[in-house]
Symmetry: C2
Subunit: 361 residues, 2 copies
């Protein structure tokens, strides 16, 4: 079971694995966004002039503008050459939502349903039997073992090319359980503007996330403008094979690397090889990445997205089963890092609000 257990870590942090089942079984959930109507359109000229149009004026927005101005002013002591303007972003809870569960886990559940016709034996075996009959409670009664079997059944045993197609097909059709929107529209509009703004100022933007690297690459370029080679994530082991004279990589049911907590600076060093000058996260799993960015010389920018908006999004921090932000919140205060108060600082939250706006014109 050790292999399967590790594989599950690709989707779920260890803490989460142990608390997940209980959470799923809790019927009373925190305030969740429903299908929303588009906000009043902002004046068009203002939108065009402001690279961070979805951010309300305030300390958070100002700190971003100040930092970028500081590192891009030639001839000053804080000037940073373009090649060193590395910015790293967590994904779940930082660039897109992560409630009620990591979207990659919701993918795994849908994938079991899609694969069921090829696995007639599943209707007599847990956790698949319960899951297929819509009984999530029963499916997860088997605890960690059940969870891992779901992960193994959905993330291994196929080539990397096949897996990419599976994810892309899912993203094209799947809808979020409460907003009923495609997952790729549950990205945060203010953060997409931030990515664009940084790149316009010579930054190279990277994702550094606990999510599966291949899962994220399936949408990161289209949705965030971040190409595959700038996406760092957790990964499973792979095996090189020649099939009919053609090279393929087959995904195995074993963890290769868990890109969370200490793993984040380690992956940054291994893959990027340069210390970021700016790092963005939303949970304690991002703390070491922020610490690593902060420890370099010269100007540094560390930012936490704090989920404070129970109405438009979700409100959670110190005791959450996903995106727990406890130590990080204390350290951010102590170190005067930027903490985004989602409710106060964001004019709009989701990309789909913008889409609705565009559509209404």
């Amino acid at each position: 079971m050790i292999q399967l257990k590790h594989l599950a870590s690709i989707l779920l942090t260890p803490v989460m694995v142990s608390t997940l089942i209980g959470t799923i079984l809790v019927s009373s959930v925190q305030a969740q966004p429903k299908e929303v109507t588009a906000p009043s359109p902002a004046p068009k000229a203002a939108v065009a002039a402001d690279p961070l149009a979805s951010w309300n004026d305030g300390k958070a927005k100002q700190s971003i503008l100040d930092f970028v101005k500081r590192v891009t002013a030639p001839g000053t002591k804080d000037f940073v050459p373009e090649a060193e303007r590395i910015a790293t972003f967590d994904n779940d809870g930082t660039l897109w939502a992560e409630q009620p569960l990591y979207f990659q886990f919701l993918f795994a559940v849908d994938r079991v349903k899609a694969l069921a016709p090829e696995h007639p034996e599943w209707k007599d075996n847990e956790p698949f039997a319960s899951l297929l009959s819509g009984d999530m409670k029963g499916a997860l009664a088997g605890g960690e073992k059940a969870l891992m079997e779901i992960v193994a059944a959905t993330h291994a045993g196929m080539t990397t090319d096949d897996f990419e197609k599976v994810i892309k097909d899912w993203l094209a059709t799947a809808k979020h359980p409460t907003t009923k929107r495609p997952y790729t529209e549950m990205t945060y509009q203010p953060m997409i503007e931030l990515l664009t703004y940084l790149r316009a100022n010579g930054f190279k933007t990277f994702i550094v996330s606990g999510g599966g690297v291949e899962f994220m690459r399936a949408f990161a370029e289209k949705v965030y403008g971040i190409p595959p080679e700038q996406v760092i994530g957790s990964s499973g082991k792979q095996q090189f094979e020649m099939r009919d004279g053609k090279a393929v990589l087959v995904k195995l049911a074993a963890l290769d690397f868990m890109d969370d907590k200490d793993g984040k600076p380690i992956a940054i060093q291994r893959v990027i090889g340069r210390r970021p000058i700016a790092a963005f996260g939303n949970s304690d799993g991002d703390l070491q990445m922020l610490q690593w960015a902060a420890a370099g010389s010269g100007p540094r920018f560390c930012m936490y997205v704090h989920h404070t908006d129970a109405e438009r999004e979700w409100a959670y921090d110190r005791v959450s089963h996903v995106g727990k932000l406890d130590k990080g919140l204390d350290e951010a205060k102590e170190k005067s890092w930027t903490v985004v108060d989602m409710k106060q600082d964001w004019k709009r939250v989701f990309t789909f609000e913008k889409t609705a706006l565009s559509e209404s014109k």
Copy 2:
């Protein structure tokens, strides 16, 4: 010893570890370049006009020009968008020389000498005692174990920042044993022109090498124009620590990843996430990378550098202790891949020849 054994793999392929000692003890070496005089300067206009000026006209050069023309012609069926123009290069023996031994091993030997004052115990312990008295034969009499102790003593136990400084200091002063040139001038001028030519045509160039990733990053940007985040290599495990409130990564004496053979396509998938359309190597250790590139759809370019020039460089292939090219040579012929005959195809070999040329003006 297993940890140390694996660590040695960062520098030396398994085959090499077992054959290295014998090789070092062999006194009669293959023809080696001596200090050379500059070749007659080429006409200036011709150099400026030809992006591959150090390549002789012939099949190899033409195949490169044809491929680049083919994938960059808009509106044709073979056109490849810029984002997908990924080119991967092996380093040792492909971008710079690898004789009489991988340069990273020569670094390790020099490093032992530099560290000796801090290790008085070494003068009574092998392999260090012999190594320090200049007796390489005695130093390596301990076989694999001796080799691994050298690697552990020189590549672990320090922070990544400290290690970077150590390598850069070494590269700035060390000289190759036969040419007496800095190692960074033992890069291949025709390959540097090729890198530049590909980038000028919208390619993104990556190193994918069995060498240590941090070792290569210390010179890749300056020498090849390849930034740290486009260098993929072997790596040791690292540990995240807070020291005096500052985040550091400490290099451990254990292998994390061996970027050779099957490891190359696996690393390409993990780090780049896109299949290269062009791949360049010089040994059987690169074969899987070339097979992986070749197996994609659309136009593909695979190239082997064949070391055929015993006078200007070294001549070796099927039975060499470094850069063994046997299966790869057969497969290249079978698949009609480009094989560069160094003696025939390269007008100049080393970058230092160009330097000498510039200096003579």
